[in-house]
Symmetry: C2
Subunit: 154 residues, 2 copies
């Protein structure tokens, strides 16, 4: 069952309505290469000739999350990003603390770890999204560069 169909089914199942706005948000989430913010979703919807209010975007995202079709991820910049769980394959990110690089990691590389977690702690981890902080290869050598006070631009 495709994501659209699943959404539709869950909506009907529960008595929610299908509206053009909800369709638009879902379509945009499908088309996007990567996770998107609420504002990006609204902008993309416009390009599809669909107008959706930002409040409606948030309300739809909330609904999709409640249905388990969407996950919210935080890359640490204060913006919430959203991504359909079933599209583009679930994946994870390594973020370099120094240069900010975002490295994509596929689920398979992390699966053994999640399995161990379930066996040891009884916690069924969902391979939704992990953000792991650290230093990328290039930045490991530059680690000792600390921030300078203002005006100390020697």
């Amino acid at each position: 069952m495709s994501c659209q169909e699943e959404f539709l089914a869950k909506l009907r199942e529960r008595g929610f309505r299908l509206t053009p706005q909800r369709e638009a948000v879902l379509t945009v989430l499908h088309d996007l290469e990567d996770h998107a913010t609420a504002e990006e979703i609204q902008t993309c919807a416009l390009q599809l000739n669909a107008t959706v209010d930002i409040a409606t975007v948030y309300r739809t995202l909330e609904l999709l999350q409640a249905f388990g079709l969407l996950v919210m991820i935080d890359l640490g910049d204060g913006l919430r990003r959203y991504e359909l769980t079933s599209v583009h394959g679930t994946h994870h990110h390594l973020r370099c603390r120094r240069c900010g690089a975002l490295i994509r990691v596929e689920t398979e590389q992390i699966e053994p770890f999640l399995t161990a977690l379930e066996q040891e702690l009884g916690f069924r981890a969902e391979a939704e999204h992990l953000l792991i902080s650290g230093l990328c290869q290039a930045c490991q050598a530059l680690e000792n560069c600390a921030p300078q006070p203002p005006g100390d631009d020697a």
Copy 2:
């Protein structure tokens, strides 16, 4: 070297100044059992007879982060929480998607995974903080309860 000493050293090293406010924020971060929001830090500082403006709290947190002494974590509720990397032992969290329970996981349980990551991808993961979403043992059985539309309170 204690965290305070390390902070002091890094400040001096770079020409930054040591102020009562910065000391207060650092002390509060030490005393706190768990991660805290900027507002909680400010409130705690007051109880220590130290007055710190919220803007100063943010500026100090930024500095501590730049020095690598502090990490910001996001539990998904839109609030940023901060925690000293060297206190209370670094740890991680499993968060139940359903009941919201926060389960603490010690670093040792995750270490093998981080080591593998470095060997395979050359990415030196810092065991700062991981937030892993999923279902706790109790909620796994209740998984099929989906949200209801308004007014459908049967």
